[in-house]
C-alpha cells in the first residue's frame, strides 16, 4: 500500500493539530494514534472517558478535536459528546464499529461533527481537520450575519448544532429546533426581517442600555406580552431615534428568550429532553429574573435571590430543588469570574443580536454553537433551564452537552443549580415564578412574574432595587455565573433564552442577551443597586454602567456569570467553565460583564468593544463552556452548556471570540451566536 499521505497536503494548519482519542479498546487506540501521528497530527489517547473529560476541563486549549468511541464502560460516548460540546465547544467525532443509522443519527443530533465507522481508515482521519476549521470559522461567520434567524439556521446544520441545539435529545433537537425556528419565524418573522437585517447590517446599532431596555420592558409589560407589537412599544417608549426595527428585533429576542425559558420550565422534558425541572416553569412567574436580567443590571444579590427563587420555588417554575439553588448560586458564583476578565459592564453589550436568542440553541449538543464562546452560547441559557430550568442546556451543539445534558439529565447536569430555573415559562420569561428579585425598581419581588411578563413589575428590568432579595443576587460572582449559565442553558434550549438579568440597578434589560439567556437562572443578575451589571449573560453590554461596573456590588458573580459582554469571552466562558453546573453561568468568573448589558449592547455584535475581544479565543477555549457550558469545575456536572462562553448570549463578540480558540470547543460556549437578547445589536 502506498505510504500514507500527509494530511493537509502541505497546508500547515492540520499539522500538529491536537487530537484526543477516547476509546476503551486499547488496540483501536494504538492503531488510531499511529494513524494520527502519520497524518502529522498531535495525538493523545485516553481509554477512559472520565479521565479525558478531566483532561479537557483542565485545559481547554489543549486539544483541537476529539475522537470518541460510542461504547465505553465508564461513560456513554454520547454523553461525553454532549459534555464536551457544551463545555468546551470542541468538535467531537464519534466512532464506532456499529454503523446502524439510528446510532449515527443520535451522534449527529448530539452534535458530533462526524461519525466514523470502524475500522477507521487513514483517509478519513486525514480529513478531520476540516471539522476544526469549519467550526472555527463557521461560527464566526454566522454571528456576523445572523440575526436570530440565522442562529436558528445555523443551528440546523448538524455539525454545528451542537452548540445551539442541544442535541441532547435525540430527535428532540430536531423538533425543538424546528419548533423554535418556526416559532421564531412566525412571530418574529416580520419583525425580525425588518429588525434584524437592518440591525445587523450597516445601520448603526442600537445600544440597548439598561434604561432603554427597562423602558422596553415597561412598554411590553404595559401592553402585554402577547399584544406587544413593535409599533406600540415604540410609541410607548417614545425614545427619539429608536426605530421600529430596533424594537422589533429586540422584541424578537426577548420573546425568544421568554420562550426559551418557558420551554425550559415547561418541560424540561421538551424535545430536548430538557431536564424535568423545566416542567415547572410553566409560567414562570419568576420571570422576574428575566426582567431583571433584562435590565441588564441585576445586582448580584438580586440575582442570587432570583436564583433562589427560581431554584427554590418549585411552584412556579423553578422548581429548583434545594439543590438547585445552591447550584445556581454556585453557578452564579462560579460564573463570575473576576471581573477583570469578564465582560466589562458597560461595555457594549455583546452582540446580543437576535441570534442570541434564538441562536442559542445550537444544534450541537452543546450549547448552541456558539463558536465563540463569548456570547453565551445559547446553550448556556438552555443550560440554565435545565438546571432547574437552567439545567437544560439546550442541546446546542453536538449534543451540546450543556443542554443535552440538562435536558437529559436535568439534575446531573446542572447539578441542580439551575434547575429551578426552569425558565421555561410558557413564554414568560422567567420561570421562576417570582423572580421577584428582579423587579428592579420594585425590589424584585420574587413573585414577579417572569421577566417580561407584563404582569411583572415593569421594574423588572429596572434594576432591582436594593430591596431585592439578597438571595436573588446571584451568588457572588460565582453563582451568578451559574445562574446565567443555567439560564443560559435554558435558553439555549429554548432559543433565546431569556436572560433574566435582573439587575438591580438599571439593567438595561440586557437580560438575556442571548436567547440563551439563561432563563432559568433568571440570571437576572440582579445586581442590587443599579449596577449595570450585565445580567445578561451575554454580557450584553450592560448599559447603564460603564464597563466594569458590573462588578459592582456583589455582582461580581453576576458578571461573571454572564460573561458580560465585554468580556464575554472570559466572562462567559469562564463562568462557564466554572459552572460546571450549567454551563451557563459561564462566565463564572468573569462573567462580570455579563450584565454589562445593554450599554454595550451593540457591542455584542460588534464585538462588544474591546472587552469583547473575546478573548474569545482564550476565553472561548475555556469558555466554551462558558456559554452554557458549565465549567467543568465539576460543579455539577456541567451542564455542558456552560461553556459556551459565558458570554452572554449575544453573540457578543462571540463571533469574534468564537475564535476557535478552542476552535474545537463547540460553540458551546461560543455564544457568539447568541443573538442579542434584545437585539441590542442595534444602536439607538
Amino acid at each position: 500500500m502506498a505510504p500514507p499521505e500527509e494530511a493537509g497536503g502541505g497546508d500547515q494548519f492540520p499539522v500538529g493539530m491536537k487530537v484526543l482519542v477516547v476509546d476503551d479498546d486499547q488496540t483501536c487506540l494504538a492503531v488510531l494514534k499511529r494513524m494520527l501521528i502519520q497524518c502529522r497530527y498531535d495525538a493523545t489517547t485516553c481509554s477512559q472517558a472520565t479521565r479525558a473529560l478531566a483532561m479537557l476541563r483542565e485545559n481547554r486549549g489543549a486539544f483541537d478535536v476529539i475522537i470518541s468511541d460510542v461504547h465505553m464502560p465508564d461513560m456513554d460516548g454520547f454523553r461525553l459528546l454532549e459534555l464536551v460540546g457544551l463545555e468546551m465547544d470542541l468538535p467531537v467525532i464519534m466512532m464506532s464499529a456499529d454503523s446502524r443509522t439510528d446510532l449515527v443519527m443520535k451522534g449527529i443530533k448530539h452534535g458530533a461533527c462526524d461519525y466514523l465507522i470502524k475500522p477507521v481508515r487513514m483517509e478519513e482521519l486525514k480529513n478531520i481537520w476540516q471539522h476544526v476549521v469549519r467550526k472555527k470559522f463557521g461560527g464566526n461567520k454566522e454571528h456576523e450575519h445572523s440575526g436570530s434567524l440565522d442562529d436558528t439556521d445555523r443551528n440546523r446544520p448538524t455539525n454545528n448544532d451542537n452548540e445551539y441545539a442541544s442535541s441532547a435529545n435525540d430527535g428532540a433537537e430536531d423538533s425543538w429546533k424546528s419548533q423554535k425556528k418556526k416559532r421564531d419565524k412566525e412571530e418574529d418573522d416580520s419583525e425580525l426581517e425588518s429588525g434584524d437585517p437592518s440591525n445587523n447590517s450597516k445601520k448603526p446599532r442600537v445600544v440597548w442600555s439598561v434604561e432603554l431596555h427597562q423602558q422596553f420592558v415597561n412598554a411590553v409589560n404595559h401592553l402585554g406580552i402577547d399584544k406587544a407589537v413593535p409599533k406600540k412599544i415604540l410609541e410607548l417608549m417614545n425614545v427619539p431615534g429608536l426605530t421600529r426595527e430596533n424594537v422589533a428585533s429586540h422584541l424578537q429576542k426577548f420573546r425568544l428568550y421568554l420562550k426559551r425559558i418557558a420551554q425550559h420550565h415547561a418541560g424540561m422534558g421538551n424535545p430536548y429532553g430538557v431536564p424535568a425541572s423545566s416542567a415547572q416553569v410553566a409560567s414562570l412567574g419568576g420571570l422576574d429574573f428575566q426582567a431583571l436580567a433584562a435590565s441588564g443590571q441585576i445586582p448580584p444579590q438580586a440575582l442570587a435571590a432570583l436564583q433562589d427563587e427560581l431554584l427554590g420555588r418549585p411552584t412556579n417554575n423553578l422548581v429548583l430543588p434545594g439543590r438547585d439553588q445552591s447550584s445556581l448560586r454556585l453557578a452564579a458564583v462560579k460564573g463570575n469570574k473576576p471581573h477583570g476578565e469578564q465582560i466589562a459592564f458597560g461595555q457594549p453589550i455583546y452582540k446580543v443580536q437576535n441570534n442570541s436568542y434564538a441562536a442559542l440553541p445550537q444544534n450541537s449538543p452543546a450549547v448552541g454553537r456558539m463558536p465563540s464562546f463569548s456570547a453565551w452560547p445559547n446553550n448556556k441559557l438552555g443550560m440554565a433551564d435545565s438546571m432547574s430550568a437552567l439545567g437544560n442546556v439546550n442541546n446546542s451543539q453536538n449534543s451540546n452537552i450543556g443542554l443535552h445534558e440538562l435536558q437529559q439529565q436535568p439534575d446531573t447536569m446542572l447539578s441542580g443549580t439551575l434547575h429551578t430555573l426552569d425558565v421555561k415559562p410558557s413564554g414568560i420569561v422567567m420561570p421562576s415564578q417570582s423572580l421577584n428579585t428582579f423587579p428592579a425598581s420594585e425590589g424584585l419581588s420574587p413573585n414577579q412574574n417572569p421577566l417580561i411578563v407584563p404582569s411583572q413589575s415593569s421594574g423588572y428590568l429596572t434594576g432591582i432595587p436594593p430591596s431585592m432579595k439578597p438571595e436573588l443576587v446571584l451568588p457572588t460572582s460565582q453563582s451568578s455565573n451559574n445562574l446565567l449559565g443555567g439560564i443560559d442553558l435554558i435558553n439555549q434550549a429554548s432559543t433565546s433564552q431569556p436572560f433574566i438579568s435582573s439587575h438591580g440597578g438599571n439593567l438595561s434589560g440586557l437580560m438575556n442577551r442571548n436567547s440563551n439567556v439563561i432563563p432559568s437562572q433568571g440570571i437576572s443578575n440582579f445586581q442590587t443597586g443599579n449596577t449595570p451589571y450585565l445580567v445578561n449573560q451575554n454580557s450584553m453590554g450592560m448599559g447603564s454602567k460603564p464597563p466594569g461596573v458590573l462588578k459592582t456590588e456583589s455582582t461580581d458573580s453576576l458578571n461573571q456569570s454572564y460573561g458580560y459582554v465585554n468580556h464575554m469571552d472570559s466572562g462567559l466562558l469562564s463562568s462557564q467553565s466554572k459552572n460546571a453546573q450549567f454551563g451557563f453561568l459561564q462566565s463564572q468568573n468573569d462573567v462580570t460583564g455579563g450584565w454589562s448589558s445593554l450599554q454595550n449592547m451593540d457591542c455584542f455584535r460588534n464585538t462588544v468593544g474591546p472587552s469583547q475581544p473575546v478573548s474569545s479565543s482564550s476565553s472561548f477555549h475555556s469558555s466554551n463552556a462558558a456559554l452554557g457550558k458549565l465549567p467543568d469545575q465539576g460543579r455539577g456536572k456541567n451542564l455542558g452548556f456552560v461553556g459556551k462562553g459565558t458570554c452572554i448570549p449575544n453573540r457578543f463578540a462571540v463571533d469574534e471570540i468564537e475564535s476557535p480558540t478552542n476552535s474545537l470547543s463547540h460553540s458551546i460556549g461560543s455564544s457568539g451566536d447568541i443573538p442579542d437578547m434584545f437585539g441590542f445589536s442595534g444602536q439607538m
Binding site: M1, P3, Q26, T27, V31, R34, H71, A97, P119
Partner: protein
C-alpha cells in the same frame, strides 16, 4: 538468502491469511503505519489485540454463565470485541462475532453459544497464525517489511 527465504515465507503466509479471509484490508493499513520510528508497530498492535481480546473473550464467557439470558449484556461485550477485531482487520473472527450478535438479537441462547465457540476458535487460530507470521518477519530481518508488505498485497 536465508532472509530472503524467510521473507518469502512470511509473505506467502500473509497472502494465505488474506486469501482465507483471516485478515483483511485493515491489516494492511496497520502494517503501513510502520516506519522507521516504529518498526514493530504491527506486531505490537497485534499482541495488544490478543491480550485485549483474550480478556474480552473471558468476560463474555463469564457473562454468559453468570447472566444466562442477558443478551444485551452479551451483546455489549461482544461489540467491544468486535471493535477490536475491526481495528486490526481480523475478519474471520469478526464474522463470528457478528453472528454471535445476531443470535443475541434473536435471543437465541443456543445460537449464541455456538457462535461463541466459533469465535474462540477463530481467535486461537488467528493468534497462532499471526504469531508465526511475525516470527518469520523477525527472523527475516529489517527488510522484511517492505517485502512482506508487497507480498502480502
Amino acid at each position: 538468502m536465508d532472509y530472503a527465504n524467510l521473507r518469502r515465507q512470511a509473505a506467502s503466509l500473509k497472502r494465505s491469511l488474506f486469501d482465507q479471509g483471516y485478515l483483511d484490508e485493515q491489516f494492511c493499513q496497520v502494517e503501513d503505519l510502520q516506519d522507521e520510528a516504529s518498526p514493530n508497530f504491527a506486531e505490537e498492535v497485534v499482541s495488544l489485540f490478543f491480550k485485549d481480546s483474550a480478556r474480552l473473550v473471558t468476560n463474555i464467557e463469564q457473562a454468559m454463565e453468570k447472566y444466562p439470558k442477558d443478551f444485551n449484556r452479551w451483546d455489549a461485550h461482544m461489540q467491544q470485541l468486535r471493535g477490536s477485531c475491526f481495528s486490526i482487520g481480523a475478519s474471520k473472527m469478526n464474522n463470528e462475532c457478528t453472528s454471535f450478535r445476531n443470535s443475541c438479537r434473536e435471543e437465541n441462547a443456543e445460537g449464541c453459544r455456538r457462535s461463541f465457540q466459533k469465535v474462540k476458535r477463530e481467535h486461537a487460530v488467528l493468534r497462532q497464525k499471526l504469531e508465526s507470521y511475525f516470527q518469520l518477519l523477525r527472523q527475516a530481518g529489517p527488510a522484511r517489511t517492505t517485502a512482506v508488505r508487497s507480498g502480502g498485497k
